[in-house]
C-alpha cells in the first residue's frame, strides 16, 4: 500500500487541530475545486485535498491513519497488525490497495455494522472525465483512449482498484465543451444495482489557424493589397483540406467572408460555417519596380481614405 501524506496535502503539521484542518481544507477547496477553479491541474489537486480532508476530519479514520506513522509519499507501507486481522483475506502486503479505500472500508464497516442494510443494492457511481481533441479530430471524428482506475467491490464488499482502458469512438459533431455519456461505463453497481455512467467533457485544443465558436470556425486570411483590390482566387485551409476561394474585388481589411458549411459538422446533420476574416498585409520590403508602380497608383488615384474622418472632425470643432 502506498503512503499518502494527508497532512502535507493540506499544508498542515501532524498535530493540527480539527479547526485547522477545516480551515486549510476550505481555503484549498476555494482555490482548486474543479467547478470554480480555472487553475491548471486544479482537478487533480482538489482530489488530493478532498481525500486528505475526508480522512483527517473523521476522528476514527484520522487515528487509524496516524497509526501508520510518518513516511515519504509513495513509500510502500505495511498497515499495523490489527488492520491485517480486520481485513483477513486481503493479501498480506496490502499491495495495490488504495489507502483511502481501506480507510473508507474501516468507516463503512463500522457504520454498516453488517446489519441488513449491508445487502441493499446500489446504482454504481457516475464519474466525470475531461479530454481534449484537435479541431481536425472533431471534424473527422476520432478514437480516444481513456486510462482509468476504477474501484470495484469484491464479494466481501472490499474495494480494489482495477486498471481499465476504454477505447472511445467520438463521432464527428463534437465541439468545445461537448458533453457525452458513456452508458454503463461508470462504477460497478453494488449487490446487483445497475452500473453507473461515465460523463466525458471534450474541449478543443487551441489551433494555430481556426478559432472555434460552437460549430463555426474563424480564420484570418492574409491578402496582398492588390488581391484585395482586384479580387483573386486563393487557396484557403479548411479542416477538411484546402479549397480555392474567390475573393471579390474591393475586399476591405477586417471584412468577413463566409464559407457556408465549411465549419465543424453538427451531430445530426449539417455543418457550421467557416468565417474568413480578410487581413491585408504589406510586403516587408518593396522592390524598385513595386515602388514605381505604387507611386504611379498614388499619382493616378483620387481616392480619399480619410475624407469621412476629416468631415467628422470639422463638425466636432
Amino acid at each position: 500500500m502506498k503512503f499518502k501524506d494527508y497532512y502535507a496535502s493540506l499544508g498542515l503539521e501532524r498535530g493540527a487541530t480539527d479547526a485547522d484542518i477545516k480551515k486549510a481544507y476550505r481555503k484549498l477547496a476555494h482555490k482548486y475545486h474543479p467547478d470554480v477553479s480555472k487553475e491548471a491541474g486544479a482537478e487533480a489537486r482538489f482530489k488530493e485535498v478532498a481525500e486528505a480532508y475526508q480522512t483527517l476530519k473523521d476522528p476514527e479514520k484520522r487515528a487509524a491513519y496516524d497509526r501508520l506513522g510518518q513516511h515519504a509519499p509513495g513509500e510502500e507501507v505495511r498497515p499495523p497488525p490489527e488492520w491485517q486481522s480486520q481485513y483477513a483475506g486481503r493479501n498480506e502486503s496490502f499491495e495495490g490497495v488504495d489507502l483511502a479505500d481501506l480507510l473508507n472500508e474501516l468507516a463503512g464497516g463500522r457504520r454498516r455494522g453488517g446489519g441488513p442494510g449491508a445487502r441493499m443494492s446500489f446504482r454504481g457511481e457516475d464519474y466525470d472525465l475531461r479530454t481534449s481533441i484537435t479541431v481536425e479530430q472533431a471534424y473527422h471524428g476520432t478514437m480516444i483512449e481513456l486510462n482509468l482506475s476504477m474501484p470495484e467491490h469484491d464479494a466481501e464488499g472490499r474495494v480494489t482498484r482495477v486498471p481499465k482502458q476504454l477505447k472511445v469512438r467520438v463521432p464527428k459533431g463534437a465541439t468545445d465543451g461537448q458533453r457525452m455519456r458513456l452508458a454503463g461505463k461508470g462504477g460497478r453497481g453494488v449487490n446487483g444495482g445497475p452500473d453507473g455512467d461515465l460523463y466525458l467533457t471534450v474541449t478543443l485544443l487551441p489551433n494555430r489557424l481556426f478559432r472555434p465558436d460552437g460549430h463555426d470556425l474563424h480564420l484570418d486570411l492574409p491578402l496582398a493589397p492588390w488581391e484585395a483590390a482586384l479580387g483573386a482566387s486563393v487557396e484557403v485551409p479548411t479542416p477538411g483540406g484546402p479549397i480555392q476561394m474567390k475573393i471579390p474585388p474591393g475586399t476591405a481589411a477586417d471584412q468577413t467572408l463566409r464559407l457556408a458549411g465549411r465549419g465543424l459538422p453538427r451531430p445530426k446533420s449539417g455543418s457550421g460555417d467557416l468565417y474568413v476574416h480578410a487581413k491585408i498585409v504589406m510586403p516587408k520590403s518593396a522592390s524598385a519596380r513595386e515602388r514605381e508602380l505604387l507611386q504611379e497608383l498614388a499619382r493616378a488615384s483620387d481616392f480619399a481614405p480619410r475624407a469621412e474622418l476629416l468631415r467628422e472632425s470639422s463638425h466636432e470643432s
Partner: protein, 98 residues
Amino acid sequence: MKVEWTEVTFIDEPVEYSLADLAERSHLAPADIIELIDCGALAAGSAHALEVARTAARLRRDFEVNVHGVALAMTLLQRIADLEGELRTLRAHSPGAP
C-alpha cells in the same frame, strides 16, 4: 489490463428524469432538488438537468453549504459561463485574436 471499446452519446437532447431518478443519480435529497427547481437554479427536463444536479451535489458536499448557498453559487457560475461564452464568441470574431 481490461480494454473495452465503447460508443458515446452526445448530451444535447432533453431527458425526462423522474425526481427519484435525479435524486439517486445526483445524491441530492428530493427536497433539495425541488428547492433548486423553485429558485430557478435547475430546469427539470433540460438536457443538462442531471449535470446541474450533480454539480449542485458536489458544491454542497465539498463546500459544506446549504441548498440556498448552492443555488446562489450555481446562479453565479452560470453567469460566469455565459460571459465566458460571449467572450469566446467575441474573440473568435476578432481578427488577430489568439
